[in-house]
């Protein structure tokens, strides 16, 4: 099973190392990890795609939560969330093929963002299957380079993952 886990983390140096180190140390198989700052500059958000059973998912969530710099962890169910990734694809294109590639890009609702004499760079967003399908067809032209961001995801509806400063001050329930 593939799971999408999203985590709010402190935006401070070393956090990515801690998270990445945890995955390798505990033997979790990560398909992708995407990270960027949130609307609050002190907080970053990670989207992690992980392969494994429910038990693996539970351990991963708990282990992530245990890291001091990790503020909140949520498991996003596919049916209750939207997910996208961004890919940039450099494709070898002879001038004669330009019309063909433009058509292909249109069908996938991508964009050509750079065009050279013998190549184009295509920007594509979508879920992984869409990107995969595009790459499959682009192969006929000759793919020179691909870069993918990995999945980013968000729950549908009003639910948000913002971190609210809790009323209860930390330390109050300490023995």
């Amino acid at each position: 099973m593939r799971h999408t886990v999203t985590a709010l983390v402190e935006n401070s140096p070393g956090v990515l190392t801690r998270v990445a180190g945890l995955f390798s140390r505990r033997g979790f198989n990560i398909d992708s990890l995407a990270v960027g700052v949130t609307e609050d500059p002190r907080i970053s958000r990670m989207t992690i795609v992980v392969e494994g059973s429910e038990a693996t998912l539970e351990q991963l969530t708990k282990q992530l939560n245990k890291l001091i710099n990790v503020i909140k962890v949520t498991d996003l169910k596919d049916s209750e969330s939207v997910a996208r990734e961004l890919a940039l694809v450099k494709i070898a294109v002879e001038p004669a093929q330009r019309a063909q590639i433009t058509q292909l890009v249109d069908i996938f609702r991508g964009k050509i963002i750079d065009m050279g004499r013998q190549s184009v760079i295509v920007e594509l967003t979508g879920d992984e299957t869409k990107v995969d399908a595009f790459l499959n067809l682009a192969r006929d032209f000759g793919i020179k380079e691909v870069v993918r961001t990995g999945r980013i995801a968000m729950a549908r509806g009003m639910k948000s993952m913002e971190y609210q400063k809790e009323e209860k001050q930390n330390g109050q329930n300490i023995l």
Binding site: G21, E58, Q59, K66, E166, N170, I174, L175
Partner: protein, 581 residues
């Protein structure tokens, strides 16, 4: 370097530098003692420490400084503090930090670091110690801004001692320690949105656990290190007595429940006692409190406690369901959860579980018959037979009773010490459990003695492990610590020899220590006193003499090199399939 102790761009007067600020905060944390070894990068901190009332103990090796802080923390329940310089000083601490991490011991570790502008240049004695210790610290910090010091120090102590305790490392670049700071107050609280341990158990789960206790026919309580760190011994005892539940302990739980209590089953696990192992495998309810179900405890994990409904009380959610499936999970502090549970548990008479207690009695009797007190003595006294290590440990326990603090190193002697311990209170048995670090015993004993100067501190050690940190005898001698060191000297790496006997076809290799130094001369060279014993008839006298001694004392027991630890659970077996049980 005189005159640069305070680098103050404004040339202000009356300000402190970063190091002095740290020491001020340590005083505010009520730190009484730190263990360490100096060097260039940490000198600013040492210079500040020189002017403080905090005591510094100069370990002869940084690993020992960490173990001493660890031993101090285990004996007192306070946070142990140690420090070392950058590079080799820091890497020498690593084993000690990992050891504390595996056993959830609260420690704060300070390391010197090269100045911030040199970090990353492979400068002299530079090592990425926060990177290196990331996997086995609860948290760590590299302080790159002097203004962060108050927050970092506050958080370090807070994180180390709350929730599931553990070591926290603070790496201090030399320039940060030398930088001037104005008047700064120590923060009164921490702001850690990502760190909020749960202390109270979920009422619904607590209620379910209470019902399970009431309904159980064959319940067993299993107490671990978490009961000790929580200070929950009293609640544990009350629950066991009120609901008539026999109690087993892990090695880390020794002392959490009184060993002479009729409900006590002894330690469980791969070298556990038969009554404990059988009871867990036969139980219909296992109430685990502050245990992490390590593989030394469970044996073949898929059949561990296979008949039992499992209630697991632990402060760390990660531990619940990690190794053993749990029916009733309770995340919370052992003491608070047990208190809540006691509100709901009605008294159960022993007779209501008579069948279960009869069965347990049979296990106990059968064990006493085969392995219990006296058997080894007979063996020892047979002509030509050598003194047995197990028997020495048993005599020591009988003579010492519940007094003092027992520490061990790692190996066969450790297992006998754990199996035969007659401990009555928490923090009176100290041993390296999760990492199994040879060389832990002596420095930890120094830490324990400094933390509890009025206690008789007894170290049971092997000839192998003792040599891994014996330089620390200097510290014990210098400080006039009258530790009692009992070496079970089998002139070999006994535990490894046993493994080779069972799993490597008796092909003994690299386990002989026939060229040992004369241990009596050795202790005398360090200024202590010692004597050697090889006659079973002299054992009691030797133990009594050592315990009566006012000096640093070592007894070198020459014991049978071919003795094995029993019972033992062979690889891949359930814990009720013991050899020699």
């Amino acid at each position: 370097m005189l005159g640069v102790l305070k680098i103050d761009p404004e040339g202000g007067v009356g300000v402190m530098n970063g190091a002095e600020l740290i020491v001020k905060f340590l005083e505010q944390e009520k730190v009484e003692i730190v263990f360490g070894h100096p060097g260039g990068a940490i000198l600013p901190l040492y210079d500040a420490l020189r002017q403080s009332r905090i005591r510094h103990v100069l370990a002869r090796h940084e690993q020992a400084a960490a173990h001493a802080a660890d031993g101090y923390a285990r004996a007192t329940g306070k946070v142990g503090v140690c420090m070392a310089t950058s590079g080799p000083g820091a890497t020498n601490l690593v084993t000690g930090i990992a050891n504390a991490y595996m056993d959830s011991i609260p420690m704060v570790i300070f390391t010197g670091q090269v100045p911030t502008d040199m970090i990353g240049t492979d400068s002299f004695q530079e090592v990425d110690i926060t990177g290196a210790t990331l996997p086995f610290t609860k948290h760590n910090y590299l302080v790159k801004d002097v203004n962060l010091l108050p927050r970092v120090i506050k958080e370090a102590f807070h994180i180390a001692r709350t929730g599931r305790p553990g070591p926290v490392l603070v790496d201090l670049p030399a320039d940060i320690c030398l930088q001037a700071v104005g008047k700064v107050e120590y923060p009164s609280r921490v702001d850690l949105p990502g760190y909020k341990p749960t202390y109270r158990g979920h009422p619904l789960q607590v209620a379910r656990a209470a019902t399970a206790i009431q309904e159980a026919k064959r319940p067993v309580l299993c107490a671990g290190g978490g009961v000790i760190s929580s200070g929950a011994s009293e609640e544990l005892l009350t629950l066991a007595e009120r609901a008539a539940i026999p109690v087993t302990i892990t090695m880390m739980g020794i002392g959490a429940f009184p060993a002479t209590h009729p409900l006590f089953l002894g330690m469980l696990g791969l070298h556990g006692l038969p009554p404990a192992n059988h009871a867990v495998m036969g139980a219909d309810l296992l109430l685990a409190v502050g245990v992490r179900f390590g593989n030394r405890v469970t044996g073949k994990v898929d059949i561990f406690a296979h008949q039992a409904k499992v209630v697991h009380i632990d402060i760390d959610p990660v531990e619940i369901g990690k190794n053993v499936p749990v029916d009733i999970p309770i995340v919370g502090d052992a003491k608070l959860v047990l208190r809540d549970l006691l509100e709901r548990v009605h008294p159960v008479e022993k007779v209501q579980r008579q069948g279960w207690f009869d069965q347990i009695e049979r296990w106990k009797t059968s064990y006493q018959g085969s392995m219990g007190a006296g058997v080894e003595k007979k063996a020892s006294n047979e002509k030509g037979k050598r003194l047995k290590g197990r028997w020495v440990v048993e005599r020591l326990n009988q003579i010492l009773g519940k007094e003092g603090i027992i520490l061990t190193d790692v190996g066969q002697h450790q297992m006998w010490a754990a199996q035969l311990a007659l401990r009555e209170r928490a923090r009176s048995f100290i041993s390296s459990g999760g990492l199994g670090t040879m060389g832990f015993g002596l420095p930890a004993a120094i830490g324990a003695k400094l933390g509890c100067p009025d206690e008789e501190v007894v170290l049971i050690t092997g000839d192998g492990g003792f040599q891994m940190n014996m330089q620390e005898l200097s510290v014990a001698a210098k400080l006039g610590l009258n530790l009692k060191i009992f070496i079970l000297n089998n002139h070999s790496l006994g535990m490894v020899r046993q493994l080779q006997e069972f799993y490597y076809n008796k092909e003994y290799y690299s386990i002989e220590l026939s060229d040992l130094p004369d241990m009596v001369k050795l202790i005398e060279a360090f200024g202590g006193t010692g004597f050697r014993v090889d006659d079973p008839a002299e054992v009691d006298d030797a133990i009594k003499r050592a315990l009566a001694s006012e000096a640093l004392t070592l007894v070198d027991f020459l014991v049978d090199p071919n003795e094995n630890v029993y019972p033992m659970v062979p690889r891949g077996k359930g814990i009720d399939e013991m050899i020699g049980g």
